[in-house]
Every structure is written in C-alpha cells, then in structure tokens.
C-alpha cells in the first residue's frame, strides 16, 4: 500500500513538473521503437520520452506538452533496457598493459551494456576505499558505461584477513568476492560470510577447490588425457559448492555462485534452492556455446576458468537457463594483450573478451529456441540488477533512461581485430550474428552510436 502511495506521489510530482515547464533542449523522444521490457512485461511498438536523465513517459503516458528537440527514429529497432553485466575485469589499476578503463567501458556500451560490475582482481586489489575512488574517477572521466565495484572479501585477496567491508560498502561497493583466490580455511570463509552479511553486502563466490586444480588445465576426461593437459575434475567445482552450501545452511548468509560450469553444479544449485536456501548463481555466456571439444587443437582463446566442460555439461547449463534455475548470464569479460595468448596452452592466461558478444550470443539462444526473447533480455537486465540490489535494468516511468537501440535485421560477422575492446581474445571470431546494437543511452545521454564503415 505504501509502495502504491509512493508511486502515485511520484507520478503526481512528475505530472506537476510537466505542467510547469519542459526545456525542449533536455528532452529526447525515441519514436516507434519496439520496446521490450521483461520487468514490466512490456513488448510493444511505442514512444519513449526522456527528460534530463529519466524516463517521463511511455506511449500514452507521455505528457501532452512534451516537446523534444532531439528526436530519435527507432522504427524497425528494438528499445532494450541497458544490460547489466555482473562480471568484468577492467585491468586498472596495475595491468594497464592489457587495457584501460575508457576502452573497455566504450566497448561495453557498444554491446548495449550500460552498467558493469568490476571484479577486484587488479594488481592492487580493490580492497580499500582509495582504489574504489580511483577507479570511479577514471570511469567518470571516460563517460561511457557505468561501473559498480565488487570489492575484495579479504585483504589483498590473500584469503586470511577480512577486508574493510564496512568502508567498502560506504564508498559504494555492490558486493564482495574472493575471485579465483583460495581461502586459508573454511573457518575464514565462514567469518567472511558473516562479516559481509553484517553490512548486507552480496557475496559473490567462485566455487573452486584449488587443491583439485592445476594451472593451465582443462576439463578432466578423455580429451585432456589425449592432449596431455592437466585435468580439472568436475569435483573441483562441486566440492567447493557443497562446502559453501553447508556454510550457508549454518549461517543463513545469502551467497551468489559465480560462473557455474557443470551439470552436477546445477543439480546442487537446484537442490539448495529447493531447500529454501538464499542461493543464486550465474553462468558465463561462453559456457553455453563452447565445450571441451573446442580445445581439441589447443586453442588458447578457449582457455577459461572454470574450464569449458563436456557437451553434456553445456546442455545441462542451457537447460538450467531455460528453466530459470540460473539467475543471470554475464560476459565474464577478460581482455588480454595478445602476448598473453600467444604461447603454448598451459602458459596462456585464461579468459575471453566478452562485452561485444554478450547480447548477440544471448539472442542466439533465442534463435536456437533455448529461451524466448523476454527471458533472454531478463537474464541480462533486471535479473542481474536485483542481484546487486539495483532497481535498474527496466524501462519504466521515473527510472533512469539507460537503454539501447538494437537493429534486429543487421547481419554481421565478428572480426576479432575489429573489437572495440583492447582485448582481441575472442574464440567467436568469424561467427555470424543477426542484429546489432546501434545506439546506447545512459541517463538519457547518447554515449554510443554505430558508425558504418
């Protein structure tokens, strides 16, 4: 009831504003686009009115006296809520040889991503307010995609002492993680969980049992044996998951599992959800398309953590996406300088440069009839938003005008060298896609528009 009152109040106040004045210079009207917003269950051809940074009207609710100086013709285009990407590695500070923030945040908006979560594994991990502020300054200066930071769970990510999570929360971190690093022991993990939940910081945990993993490895099985690469068993993920789930039962602390890769993990996740535990999980988009078979000729571009699993595992992940067991899809964007991949497989750095393929690949799941369009957009927008306690990822009255225009009839082929990201490390070079982001707006401001070559 209270919520409804607030809503009416809000409408009234906007309505009131509209009666008095609309500076046409600060108005934008997006006309005749197909607005797809899973959160509000909208899918129709309509107009979108933006005043300053916010949406003030959709279709009939656009105030009569709204006159926009900027009019965007979106006929034949889709109007999509801005994508929220749960995992990206921006490499600053410390790894500037790989890339810099402006390149990556620009690459993000070119793929329709308006907000991304930056992982703390930089060469001076995000474990203090100072690093958070440093990154925030660079992001602001660049002026492209917005960045939410996921702070380090332990000091220097060493897995021993608690990071100052209270301060990290205060300076705006949306969650905490240990990344790919291990914990000293389970007692430390338990304390980390309890302390993080004290400040209601979402916990993003990669289920990795390090003693079962080797550097430069791949999924354990006949192919790893044939290639002579160090095997990483399924249990490296499920053993860690099982331990974390036990601690969630013990402490009732919400946990989000990052980048699940195996069928068995999905089984554990389902069971935990059925038991009513506060557990969520995401999957990296490449895990839904690639498998260990893509490594059969040592392709270092397919070197990832967790490793690409069997085709059976991939199908189980797809099934979990289809039946909504999974809570979000992310790019797990890891740009690398080319030298990091030009070496024998075991010596290459894991990771895929993923911003620019996140939306195209997710929509390919729709083409392949794994999920429907509404589901696909939801996985990239309001679902991940809710995991970082954000109300973004939807196109509704009074919300921030973060959205993109997508041309569904634009047929194109990915060329790794033409990626806007400094990381050209994608295994999807040569893949063809139907549809491309042509314009991206953040807080009502155009931050990207496609230039035709």
């Amino acid at each position: 009831m209270a919520l409804q009152c607030e809503w009416q109040l809000c409408q009234w106040s906007w309505g009131h504003d509209s009666m008095t004045e609309y500076n046409a210079k600060k108005c934008t009207l997006v006309k005749n686009g197909r607005l797809i917003d899973p959160q509000s269950n909208t899918d129709k051809i309509t107009d979108l009115a933006i005043y300053k940074s916010k949406i003030i009207g959709i279709g009939d609710s656009i105030p009569a006296n709204f006159k926009a100086e900027t009019q965007v013709d979106a006929e034949g285009l889709w109007v999509l809520p801005g994508i929220i990407d749960l995992s990206a590695y921006l490499r600053e500070p410390g790894l500037e040889n790989k890339t810099r923030i402006p390149y990556e945040t620009y690459a993000a908006v070119s793929g329709g991503i308006t907000r991304l979560c930056c992982m703390p594994e930089t060469d001076s991990p995000i474990d203090t307010g100072a690093v958070v502020k440093l990154i925030r300054g660079k992001v602001k200066q660049a002026g492209f995609a917005q960045v939410s930071m996921i702070g380090a769970l332990t000091q220097k990510l060493e897995g021993e002492q608690l990071s100052p999570m209270g301060s990290l929360k205060y300076v705006g971190c949306v969650g905490v993680t240990q990344g790919w690093n291990s914990f000293k022991d389970l007692a430390t993990l338990r304390k980390c969980m309890e302390y993080a939940s004290t400040f209601e910081l979402p916990l993003f945990l990669h289920p990795l049992e390090h003693s079962l993993m080797e550097k430069g490895g791949m999924h354990e099985g006949a192919l790893a044996t044939r290639l002579g690469l160090p095997p990483i068993p399924v249990a490296a993920e499920t053993a860690a998951m099982a331990q974390i789930i036990s601690l969630v039962e013990q402490t009732n602390t919400p946990v989000h599992f990052c980048r699940l890769s195996t069928a068995k993990s999905i089984h554990l996740l389902k069971q935990a959800k059925k038991d009513g535990l506060p557990i969520t999980a995401d999957v990296a988009i490449h895990q839904l398309f690639l498998s260990e078979m893509d490594l059969c000729d040592y392709n270092p571009l397919c070197h990832t953590i967790p490793p690409l699993r069997s085709e059976r595992d991939r199908d189980a992940l797809r099934q979990a996406v289809a039946d909504n067991t999974i809570d979000a899809i992310c790019s797990d964007h890891q740009p690398h300088e080319i030298d990091a991949k030009l070496a024998p497989f075991e010596e290459t750095s894991p990771g895929i440069s993923g911003f620019e393929t996140l939306l195209p690949l997710t929509l390919r799941l729709v083409e392949e009839k794994v999920i429907d369009l509404n589901q696909a957009i939801a996985y990239l927008t309001h679902k991940p938003a809710s995991l970082i306690s954000s109300d973004a990822g939807t196109l509704q009255m009074a919300k921030k005008a973060d959205f993109s225009l997508f041309d569904p009839n634009h047929f194109w082929q990915l060329d790794a060298e033409k990626l806007l990201s400094k990381g050209k490390n994608t295994p999807f070079s040569g893949w063809s896609f139907n549809g491309k982001t042509v314009k991206t707006f953040i807080k009502g401001k155009l931050v990207y528009h496609e230039t035709i070559f």
Binding site: A224, D297, Y298, N299, P300, L342, P344, F345
Partner: protein
C-alpha cells in the same frame, strides 16, 4: 598475428608428405611404415653413414631443449651429424627463457640466425605444435617431447624395435607398465600401436597413475601386474619419477617395486619369447630388476641404437618434403 587453434593436420604438406613431426596421432599407417622402412635402411648402413648419406648437407638443425635430456638430445645430435647437417645445441633453460623472453621471441631470434629445422623439447603440452604454427614456413619442427602430450620419435623407435623382433603387429599383445598419467611416451606409443593395428594394448598401473578416459584410446587397463602380463609379447616399462612419491601418487619406491616392478618371476607370466623394453633412463630396483634389464629378453640397448636410425629417417623425410 592472432592466437588460435593449432591443428595437427599441419604436419603434412598438401601432397601428404611429412613437413613437421609433432605427434603420431592422425598420421596414416602407410606413413608410419615408410618411417620404419627408412629407419631400417639406416640401421643397415655401416657406421660411417655420412659418407653415403649427406642428405642434410648445408642444412642447419637447432636442438631447442627447454627441458633437460641426455639420451634424446644426443641421438638427435648424432643423427643430424651422420646426415652431414650443421648442428647447434641450445640449452634454453640457462639462457633467454630465464631472462623473461617469450617463446615466440626466442623462435624469431633463432630463425633470424638462419636455420632449417628445430628439434624441440618443452614442458608444456602442445609447445611443438605452437612453434610449428608460428615459425617461418621453411622450417620443419620435430617434437622431442612436449609436456605429457607426445614423444613421437621415441614411439617410432619403439615400433622399429618391436618390428625387428616380432615382424608383424596384428597378432601382438603389448603391455605398457608404469606412470601412464604423466607419460608422453606412453601416449605416443598407444597411438603408434593402434595405427599399426596391434592386436591388444594393455596398460598396467595403480589407479593414481592412470589418466581418466584413457580407455577411449583403444587400450585395456589393468591394475594387477600379474593379470596384465599374462601372455603378452612385448613388455614396455616406463620410468618412474621419484617426485611422484611426494605428491601422494604412490606410497614408496619399495611398495611400487613390490607391486609393479618387473622381476624375473613376473616376466615368466609373459610369453616365453616376450621382449622387454624401456625408454630409459632405467631406475634399477624401482620399476625393473637388474637381472631383467640385463637379461636375455631385454632389448633396451637395441632401442637406443634404433633411436639414431629413426631420427635420421625422420630428419631426411621432413627435409625431402620441400
């Protein structure tokens, strides 16, 4: 230049000739026969072979050993010299790699010095494929062992040895005993044996030393030495690295020898005319009893002699493919 897949199909030219020798896997049986036939010719040649076979005169061969080795390196060296090639030995462990130079830069630099063939040993699986993919097109790469992946010249010299004693492969039962999990030799032997249509290949080891999914390579796995040796024609013992005791793969040398050591009694379970092979260096009293290693059924030293011939054959074949 962009990173990408390293297909093993690149070891053959468009005409199906051997350009690089990286792995036995996927090579046609006729090509393996050709390698064995040529090797046999070199075995038959008198000692001063270079007088008759200056096949590599004017060519430069570089031995790039990123991992230590005595036997393999020496036999490659002798093979190159007997074919009249110029040879450079590079011990990379003590030079550029430790100063932080990337593998690709090392290769570029050596290329610039002008050479025709790289003989590569490296601790990473797929390293030879990587060098073959990114080196200058006129260079041939021979894999002298990459990680746990392949050691194809060793496998071919083993096949030559088997053929010398057993003639034909289809009626044979071959047992490979030891640390299969970490062995590139075993993997290459399995591929060679299956390409040559060997009747049965058995692997014998405790479960900690058998990698997952190895049965898919067409072998039968035994954990009991006595059962596995019964009725075999060839016993190939693998070297057991002492480090394996430290990583909880095996309890002790003593227990390994008690369960999996090749003793005279155990050898009696194999066929009477079975031969015993070992890629060397032999750990006496760990995987094999001295009386077996030096016994009448041992062909270990013949393997070493064959090693030179096989490497001469392969070097002449890759140089002839141009």
């Amino acid at each position: 230049m962009l990173p990408g897949p390293l297909p093993s199909s690149m070891q053959l030219t468009d005409e199906g000739k051997l350009k690089h020798f990286l792995t036995v896997e996927g090579l046609p049986p006729l090509l393996l026969e050709e390698i064995l036939d040529r090797s046999q010719q070199f075995v038959a040649l008198p000692d001063k072979a270079q007088v008759q076979a200056p096949l590599l005169r004017g060519k430069t061969v570089m031995n790039l050993f990123f991992e230590n080795s005595t036997r393999t390196r020496t036999t490659f060296e002798l093979a190159a010299k007997r074919l009249s090639a110029d040879l450079v030995n590079m011990d990379i462990r003590t030079s550029s790699a430790t100063k932080g130079e990337s593998l690709l830069d090392t290769i570029r630099n050596l290329e610039a010095m002008g050479c025709d063939m790289f003989v590569v040993r490296h601790s990473s699986s797929g390293a030879a494929h990587f060098i073959a993919r990114y080196c200058a097109p006129h260079i041939s790469v021979l894999n002298a062992g990459d990680g746990r992946h392949a050691h194809p010249t060793q496998a071919m010299l083993d096949m030559l040895t088997i053929r010398q004693y057993k003639k034909d492969f289809p009626p044979l039962r071959v047992a490979i005993v030891g640390d299969i999990k970490h062995s590139r030799v075993a993997r290459s032997q399995i591929h060679a044996l299956s390409t040559l249509c060997t009747g049965e290949t058995r692997l014998i080891a405790p479960k900690t030393l058998i990698p997952q999914g190895i049965e898919k390579m067409g072998v039968n796995v035994y954990h009991d030495m006595e059962k596995g040796l019964r009725g075999v024609d060839v016993v190939i013992m693998l070297r057991l690295q002492h480090e394996r005791m430290k990583t909880a793969l095996l309890p002790s040398v003593r227990e390994y020898y008690a369960r999996y050591g090749l003793t005279e009694e155990r050898l009696k379970l194999a066929k009477d005319d079975a031969i015993v092979m070992h890629p060397g260096p032999v750990n006496r009293g760990v995987e094999i009893d001295s009386r077996v290693a030096d016994g009448p059924q041992s062909v270990i030293l013949q393997q070493v002699t064959n090693g030179i011939a096989v490497r001469m054959a392969i070097m002449s074949m890759v140089m002839g493919s141009r």
